[in-house]
């Protein structure tokens, strides 16, 4: 008992010390006027930890590059990254802390759409710009409840991705499609966009789907996919469409391959994927998968990208995932705009972002249009193939880098959504672009 008491005393003292030392570590280098923090609340643990991890690394590298070129408005940038454990409440708390306590100059969007929806109002209330490069439900920039003039999206949103997938699948000539999607805002948003654009792209074809009530896998996700795998066999589809991601995708693929090493030849699959998903499965990632990806570095090769990949690999001993690439772009967008504006004032910086074009690592420039403040970024579609030892994971062959302009939501549709014209009987829960007057015609 006595020893334990002593232990307790030490523990308490330690905790107090930890609290006391928490305060200030203002390391101002002489060549800068001062430091400015840039904030990111991301999933460093939990379901989406894979992505949060890559994003932090992309951001840090971007910040290093900017600081090497003299920082922003003479200030050195300092990353302020907080783990939100893929939890909504924690993301919100973190964001508030980043804004109110740390006075961050800009925020980068968290991983999941629910987290983005939750954190957007705080950022809006305090007029802090958020550059979203991961969460991508189009509702975040079009739903009247969520509209935030300080929100900028440089990731292809679910409309664009669904559109890309729909156009891809329309060309495959398949008839029977089995859909697997997570029951989150992201999943429903992207799946709806996929189905709508598939029907639009192939108006004469008649598709058979599994019952729409079984498209979504409810939360909390069970790591076992046996039942779904059996259901797919029973349905016998020409194609499986999925936008499950992270741990879910890894589990699905692993278990499918155990059921049948030729699973993905027998049931071809169109799926959202990323370098992170490739990485997690490595060489066992199935080949011949129709993947659509946001920013796979090997398909977007150009001198800037190649240099980035090399430096990223040198620094972290990993290849940059799509998220790392996009968040590197995100910090560049903000830094360029802030430098041009000559201030950190959000309204003035925003004026330098909206309507302007930015060079991307992705080898093209994208423009952030007014309205939904969405960048016309592209999507890469292709088929997974062996990288022949070049990387510890597969690459895409026969890929196409779809142009953002082909995918982006038409302005009329966007405006109708933002004005609340796409609800059935005025019920905000039924908002769907398929209900919009301009989509129907």
């Amino acid at each position: 008992m006595f020893r334990l008491t002593k232990l307790f005393a030490v523990a308490t003292a330690g905790a107090l010390l930890a609290v006391a030392c928490g305060g200030g570590n203002n390391t101002t280098t002489s060549s800068f006027k001062g430091t400015k923090k840039v904030g990111y609340s991301g999933a460093l643990s939990g379901q989406s930890q894979l992505y949060g991890h890559a994003i932090s690394q992309g951001l840090k590298l971007g910040i290093d590059d900017i600081n090497a070129k003299g920082g922003v408005n003479g200030y050195k940038l300092e990353p302020d990254i907080q783990d939100d454990t893929t939890d909504v409440a924690k993301a919100k708390d973190n964001t508030t802390q980043l804004i109110l306590q740390d006075n961050v100059a800009v925020l980068f969007g968290p991983v999941t759409s629910a987290q983005c929806a939750a954190t957007s109002p705080v950022a809006k209330q305090n007029k802090v710009i958020t550059i979203a490069a991961t969460c991508n439900s189009f509702q975040l920039t079009t739903e009247p409840d969520l509209l935030n003039p300080y929100w900028v999206s440089i990731v292809p949103n679910t409309y664009m991705e669904g559109n890309a997938a729909g156009n891809l699948v329309a060309k495959l000539g398949v008839k029977k499609i089995f859909i697997v999607s997570p029951k989150y805002l992201f999943g429903t948003s992207e799946t709806n966009a996929f189905v709508a654009s598939l029907k639009k792209a192939a108006p004469t074809a008649s598709f058979t789907f599994n019952d729409p009530a079984t498209w979504y896998v409810p939360f909390p996700t069970n790591p076992r996919w046996d039942a779904t795998l059996t259901a797919i066999q029973g349905f016998g589809p020409d194609l499986v469409y999925s936008n499950i991601f992270a741990a879910d995708q890894v589990n699905f693929v692993k278990q499918a391959l155990l059921v049948n090493p030729q699973w993905f030849q027998k049931y071809p699959m169109t799926t959202l994927s990323s370098i992170d998903d490739f990485n997690a499965l490595g060489a066992s990632y199935p080949l011949g998968m129709h993947a659509y990806m946001r920013a796979p570095f090997f398909a977007l090769s150009n001198s800037k990208m190649d240099d980035f990949v090399k430096r990223y690999h040198d620094k972290y001993n990993e290849y940059p995932s799509d998220w790392a690439v996009m968040d590197y772009d995100a910090i560049q967008v903000w830094a360029q705009a802030a430098n041009k504006a000559g201030t950190f004032d959000s309204d003035k910086v925003l004026k330098q972002i909206v309507g302007h074009s930015f060079a991307s690592l992705r080898g093209y420039s994208f423009t952030i249009r007014p309205g939904d403040q969405q960048a016309n970024v592209g999507e890469t579609v292709g088929t997974t193939a062996d990288s022949a030892g070049k990387y510890p994971f597969p690459i895409l062959k026969d890929y196409t880098n779809l142009k953002g302009d082909q995918l982006i939501m038409p302005v009329t549709l966007m405006t109708e959504l933002q004005q609340g014209k796409c609800e059935k009987n005025g019920d905000p829960k039924t908002t769907d672009f398929a209900n919009c007057p301009s989509w129907k015609t």
């Binding site: 379901q47 894979l50 009530a213 079984t214 790591p223 046996d226 779904t228 741990a247 692993k254 278990q255």
Partner: protein, 284 residues
């Protein structure tokens, strides 16, 4: 079938929880953490040693490491709280889950890890027009073997006799000269070992990550409660029930959204009508 392999790993995890509760009267919140530790140890060892031996050595290493952690938890935490109110027990083991979660993240990193199943079980076979993985069958087989093994241990060995005596009255047992403290440590170590087997068995078929602990815990609770805390057969029936409901619910249009709700409705119904579970024994 899909439901059964689901049930298999859930049973292995739940039976440990149930056994520990039966003898020690403690709800071990850290049970999921032990399961997670085992999965990580298996993956790390297996990936280092390669396909042929990896899984089996990993299994051994996981059971030993997890068992040791279990013994540590029992001696440092549980032993002091057996006589306390169950809030104190819950919180004590909850604190362990926090510590383990942090330690696992620091030691193993936050990336997912994956491994292949041993070659023996990596094939697949056809049954009534559907293909199933041999590994799923192996999981089911392992669960059955564990159920039989635990039953033999309980009903055919001196240790089992003492455990069963502890389930009915540990004070009486203590009066009869058995070292109850050591018995409890042993039971907890066995419980930890079962959690470990659960972790080992899922490792080759899914991503091993840091949120495995809480994912499995609530289902394990549901299963052991439905079957009856302390009952082996109960855990088996509970696991099959939960596994099947979940699998059926998932792919059936009418039940998809609320598959999990059914599990909790059953759990509520069982606790309301027979709080001691389908196969448990009523407490005085």
């Amino acid at each position: 079938m899909g439901g059964l392999s689901n049930a298999a790993y859930l049973f292995i995890v739940a039976v440990g929880l149930s056994l520990v509760f039966g003898a020690l009267r403690v709800i071990n919140m850290a049970h999921g953490s032990l399961y997670m530790i085992a999965a990580f140890v298996t993956v790390v060892v297996a990936n280092r040693l390669g396909l042929a031996l990896g899984f089996w050595v990993g299994l051994l290493a996981a059971v030993i490491v997890t068992g040791a952690v279990g013994v540590l938890i029992e001696i440092v935490v549980l032993r002091r709280v057996y006589r306390e109110e169950h809030l104190i027990q819950l919180l004590g083991t909850y604190a362990v889950t926090l510590i383990v979660a942090g330690a696992v993240r620091i030691i193993f990193g936050s990336n997912y890890r994956t491994m292949s199943p041993p070659q023996l079980f990596s094939g697949s076979l056809s049954l009534a027009g559907y293909r199933y993985s041999v590994y799923s069958l192996f999981m089911i087989g392992a669960a059955i073997m564990i159920a039989v093994g635990v039953n033999l241990m309980l009903y055919r060995t001196a240790l089992g006799r003492n455990i069963r005596a502890a389930v009915s009255d540990s004070e009486l047992l203590s009066a009869s000269g058995v070292n109850v403290a050591r018995l409890f440590t042993t039971v907890f170590a066995i419980g930890a070992g079962l959690a470990a087997l659960g972790g080992v068995i899922v490792a080759p078929s899914q991503a091993v990550g840091t949120s495995m602990d809480s994912d499995v815990l609530v289902l394990a609770f549901a299963i052991s409660v439905i079957g009856g805390l302390g009952s082996i057969i109960g855990s088996a029936v509970g696991a099959v029930l939960v596994g099947e409901i979940y699998s059926f619910g998932l792919v059936n249009p009418y039940t998809n959204q609320f598959a999990l709700a059914f599990v909790f409705i059953i759990m509520t119904a069982v606790l309301t009508i027979r709080p001691w579970g389908l196969f448990g024994r009523a407490e005085q």
